[in-house]
């Protein structure tokens, strides 16, 4: 476990040593700020903090997905390219410690980025808004979990190839597909009750967001996200084991 911590530390160092994290944070915060503006304008008089934050956290997830996908593509692909993976895998560190360490570093960066969005809340509270904390916290938890799934899948994509470009394409495309599975097949589709439609909509990241932003997270939804994270990280560990031979 200590090794995981060391790897997390180093990855954070790498994040802040490269411009990509700053750039992506700036983009994400710009989009998120724009979204906040939109929802704020829709409720100009009520100053109902919760309505605004609910709308915001329910829709910002997609940008979060893209943001996390891009910052994670580097994680393993680059180490394979430069040969540092050989250093990690010949150190007394287990494969899963490497993968989990990288995952945690991404989560820390994600938390930091989300912390910036608290600024909206602070603004509204200063200007007399009243917040109901339960839904807000659960909304943030939802975002964190979505980000976690994207991070886990980004690391998986990154372990598949030495090329960051390929990893980026895989990571982003799959995240987009995962996101839109629900809207595509459930809300518009006439075959709502078909088994595959239900399955796809369950697999969709987007269909689990709502309960969080409403303030009543379903255990099923938490379970869904956590399962996805563990699944992707587990597959990554297996891929690392397989790729050793190359």
């Amino acid at each position: 476990m200590k090794n995981t911590y060391y790897i997390t530390q180093r990855e954070l160092y790498a994040y802040f040593a490269s411009p990509i994290a700053y750039i992506m944070m700036a983009f994400f915060l710009a989009f998120s700020g724009a979204l906040f503006g939109i929802f704020f304008n829709q409720n100009p008089t009520s100053a109902d903090v919760n309505t605004i934050m609910r709308g915001w956290s329910g829709s910002v997830g997609f940008f979060l997905l893209i943001f996390v996908s891009i910052i994670t593509i580097r994680l393993i692909a680059e180490e394979q390219r430069t040969g540092t993976l050989e250093l990690l895998l010949t150190s007394p560190v287990r494969d899963w410690e490497v993968v989990v360490g990288k995952f945690f570093a991404t989560i820390v960066l994600l938390l930091l980025t989300l912390a910036f969005t608290l600024f909206y809340l602070v603004l509204m509270l200063i200007f007399g808004g009243r917040a109901d904390w339960g839904p807000i916290i659960s909304g943030y938890l939802g975002l964190l979990l979505i980000g976690g799934v994207a991070a886990a899948f980004g690391i998986l994509a990154s372990s598949l190839t030495q090329s960051q470009a390929v990893a980026a394409v895989i990571g982003i495309l799959v995240c987009i597909i995962l996101w839109f599975l629900g809207p595509l097949f459930v809300s518009n589709g006439p075959t709502n009750s078909e088994w595959w439609s239900v399955a796809l909509s369950y697999a969709s990241l987007e269909s689990h967001v709502d309960s969080f932003s409403r303030g009543s997270p379903d255990l099923k939804d938490i379970f869904y996200y956590v399962t996805m994270i563990i699944l992707f990280l587990g597959v990554t560990v297996q891929i690392l084991k397989m790729r050793r031979g190359e």
């Binding site: 060391y6 490269s18 430069t82 040969g83 050989e86 010949t90 007394p92 560190v93 050793r244």
Partner: protein, 469 residues
């Protein structure tokens, strides 16, 4: 400290390493030698647990590599061929990280980092970002990470590759400072490095151990075919006959043009004399200085007697000396013999096309030139002459010369790299590693490609090299 027992590794259905066994004792530095694609890196990666082992067993520092990988890695320092550096980190931070993941306890960790930086002469760049360091410094940082946890076993994969001579010397100094406390395996194809550093040598080719012996033994072994080098000024024909009549002289050779450049035991290139000029000189006046190589019956030393006899004849004796075969020559002979052996086997299998005459050393070369003559309808006279000439020459000389003398006409036959450094690294193995299987199955195509101009041929040899790796 390290025991490899019948290690085997397959890539696809090709065995990269097969039944490779050797041992490294405590405090010993062992050189793992071999041409490109011989299986050195693969072997090392198996020992470090990076590559899964397909067959056999490896025990490092008392632990089985497969069963107790983490225990092994705690006691093992490894510098891969591509130095694993996080280029965005400063040296000290990088070493701190590697110390942590190698389990150096936090108490004394900083002191250890200082020590290692001192040892690897990194103290003056400790706060610099690794990406901005020179190649030599980077290599030393790589070495520092391998020894940071004071491991019992150190494995270094080509630690001096790509460095300039001064940097090579520095790295060797560092390695020598480490000797004694650690068992070390060091792979290289720079032979002087082995003489400079190693107690014992393991020569591998085609994934198998050819020889495992001490350096001294190897050199003694190589010395049994004794040769003398002479330079005598006077009438050449007379001198030749005189030498040939001398008892104990088995054979007199007049070294042809290309004997002019060589690599001495320190790995320095001796300057090359323009071959054509020299030949011209000899042809014009019979009195010019001449070089002779004598093959002498083993275990005789006729130097004094011969020297005084030559002086009595009134000729100018400029030089007389023993030709001591360098490690390089021994190495090349072993590899060549191995390849010749392989070729023989395959020739027999394929009901060979021509008799391979001559001793084992020249076998591959003569076989090739013979097939060239047979297969080509219109041989270009010039090239054909060169190739025929090849057959007479000892193949080890061919290799050395081709590497060291880019002006040589032979360049057309065996494309060579241009810089001395490249040449040094490539000289020995490049053409020897060209897959003999291809050669025997389609001799015409193969010989033709070898006679192509340098650029295309070079590409060809790189292709075969990468294929083997």
């Amino acid at each position: 400290m390290i025991e490899a027992e019948k290690l085997t590794k397959y890539f696809g259905d090709r065995a990269a390493v097969q039944d490779l066994s050797f041992e490294v004792k405590k405090g010993e530095i062992v050189g793992l030698l071999g041409p490109n694609g011989a299986g050195k890196t693969t072997t090392m990666r198996m020992l470090t647990g990076y590559l899964p082992i397909d067959g056999g067993r490896a025990v490092v520092a008392g632990y089985d590599v497969v069963e107790k990988p983490v225990e092994v890695r705690k006691r093992l320092g490894y510098l891969p061929e591509t130095v694993p550096l996080y280029t965005e980190m400063p040296v000290r931070a990088y070493l701190d990280f590697t110390a942590k993941i190698r389990g150096v306890p936090s108490k004394g960790r900083n002191r250890r980092i200082e020590e290692v930086m001192e040892l690897c002469r990194l103290a003056d760049v400790s706060e610099k970002v690794i990406g901005k360091l020179s190649r030599g410094y980077k290599q030393r940082v790589g070495l520092a990470q391998a020894i940071i946890h004071n491991p019992q076993v150190i494995i270094l994969d080509e630690p001096t590759v790509g460095l300039d001579p001064r940097q090579i010397i520095e790295i060797r100094k560092v390695i020598r400072d480490l000797a004694g406390n650690h068992s070390m395996i060091l792979s290289t194809h720079i032979l002087p490095e082995v003489s400079a550093l190693c107690d014992r040598v393991v020569i591998v080719n085609r994934g198998r151990v050819l020889v495992e012996d001490t350096l001294a033994n190897l050199e003694r072994q190589g010395a049994n075919s004794e040769r003398l080098r002479l330079e005598v000024r006077g009438p050449q024909q007379e001198i030749h006959d005189f030498l040939a009549r001398w008892p104990d002289v088995v054979q007199v050779e007049i070294p042809t043009n290309a004997a002019s450049a060589s690599i001495d035991s320190q790995g320095n290139l001796a300057p090359a004399v323009n071959p054509d000029e020299e030949a011209y000189e000899v042809a014009l006046d019979g009195e010019s200085q001449g070089r002779f190589n004598l093959k002498v019956t083993p275990n005789t030393d006729i130097r004094e007697a011969l020297a005084s006899a030559i002086i009595q004849q009134g000729w100018g004796l400029r030089e007389i000396g023993l030709v001591v075969p360098s490690l390089e020559e021994i190495f090349i002979r072993l590899i060549t013999e191995d390849l010749a052996h392989l070729e023989e086997e395959e020739n027999q299998d394929a009901e060979d096309l021509e008799d391979v005459e001559g001793d084992e050393l020249t076998a591959p070369v003569s076989a090739r030139s013979a097939s060239y003559d047979d297969e080509l309808d219109e041989p270009d006279g010039d090239v054909a002459a060169v190739v025929n000439n090849e057959a007479e020459l000892n193949s080890q000389e061919v290799v050395r010369r081709e590497g060291s003398n880019p002006m040589n006409a032979r360049q057309r036959v065996y494309p060579v790299s241009k810089t001395p450094d490249q040449a040094k690294r490539k000289a020995a193995p490049s053409f020897l590693t060209a897959s003999p299987k291809d050669r025997s199955s389609k001799p015409a195509a193969e010989t033709q490609t070898e006679i192509l101009p340098a650029s295309e041929g070079d590409q060809n040899s790189t292709d075969t090299e990468s294929e083997r790796e």
